[in-house]
Symmetry: C2
Subunit: 226 residues, 2 copies
DNA sequence: GCACACACGTGACCC
DNA sequence: TGGGTCACGTGTGTG
């Protein structure tokens, strides 16, 4: 049986290229493959040699299809998790595991701190509530454009002369923990300067700004003023 | 070489159990394994028979370790994605793919409507802001217990005689789109009745309730009252 | 018997 | 050169 194993092994290199033709070729040369050993070593157990050869072939083809199915899934997984190109199979799966865990973790604590981590890409949610002024929106737009973030969503609502803005921004690519803190603090700083430009604090005691997990919520600031 | 292949195949069953001992045994019986064929069939190409046997053994062991690594990752993945027990390898990977896609999709639309979907399991975020009263919390606790949801997170803050609650709740299992709507609306209804029990609306004009995407935000209600 | 899925050892290839 | 990964065919078990 060992011999037939080896013989078919070499033949199957061709069967991959030629597809079904190889079956005919294989069936024709089936005897040759088993020739090197004199006696019918183990193969005598089953039916005619041609039949067992055909069965073996369909078996290997099925196995090949199975491998292709698995590997195609692995490549789509590779495209789904970042930086997994040219990574070995086991490492890819390990990365998929941590990725799933990360995503799952953030799915169960939504909106806790206004920031979501997605495998190196960060989402920052900032909200801002203050008195309205003529060019506030233009100011905000400029400020956001100068940040190393792209704005995914923005919500603006006004009521009674006050304006409330909410943004969801994301880093352009993967960032380290340190870069994350720098970006967040600079975003906070920038939005704070926008607030300062609205009016002097003593004239606008009810402004609020939320960025990252430290939030001066609109609820708090408005309640304390009432 | 075919013979050695078959011989090692049977031997490896032991090597798995006995580990390194099998190598010694193998070195000692190396000749015996290849004995059945008289001439040095194919093995003449490389070094001493014992050497090639040792190489082959370490090779197959390395491959076995590789398989174990991959499979262990697959089993942890199986524990991570729901309903993937007793599922074939390819299907498992397919499920992992859709799972990752789902999680990713909801990671990029955070907090949009206070509800996150996770493969049939729904997260509902509800927040509630009103005047405090003695047994408000007990009332809330009862109300939530009667909903077909489990509470994942709860935040309570009070300020100036007002109380603000935030809950993240999840369905116990997978639910359909229709069930989702029913659950959400019943949750909204239940929480609304809690608010009504605080005081008559005319005495508590600044109560707010957020559930699902229709949100009477604290900002709106508080601003309108100021 | 047939179809399917898995683990295994092995040749080829790459550092 | 070894130590690693990969694809392959095959043996084997399950339905």
């Amino acid at each position: 049986m060992g011999e037939t194993s080896f013989g078919f092994s070499s033949f199957n290199g061709f069967s991959q290229s030629f597809g079904f033709n190889a079956l005919v070729l294989d069936g024709g040369k089936g005897e040759l493959v088993r020739a090197p050993v004199g006696p019918p070593v183990v193969a005598g157990k089953k039916g005619t040699p041609a039949a067992v050869a055909a069965a073996l072939k369909s078996h290997s083809e099925a196995e090949r299809r199975r491998r292709e199915r698995i590997n195609s899934h692995l490549t789509t997984l590779r495209s789904l998790v970042p930086c997994s190109d040219k990574m070995d199979k086991a490492s890819l799966l390990a990365k998929v595991i941590t990725h799933v865990k990360d995503l799952k973790r953030h799915a169960t604590e939504p909106d806790e701190d206004g920031m979501h981590v997605n495998n190196g890409i960060f989402l920052i949610r900032a909200s801002l509530c203050c008195e309205d002024r003529p060019d506030l929106l233009e100011d905000l737009k400029q400020t956001l454009a100068n940040l190393p973030l792209k704005t995914l969503r923005a919500e603006i609502s006004t009521l009674g002369g006050r304006v409330r803005n909410m943004f969801v921004m994301a880093t352009e690519g993967k960032v380290t923990e340190i870069e994350r803190h720098l970006i967040v603090s600079s975003a906070h700083q920038a939005l704070k300067s926008v607030l300062d430009r609205v009016a002097s604090p003593e004239f606008s005691p009810r402004s609020s700004l939320s960025c990252k997990r430290r939030r001066i919520s609109s609820f708090d600031s408005l309640s304390s003023s009432s």
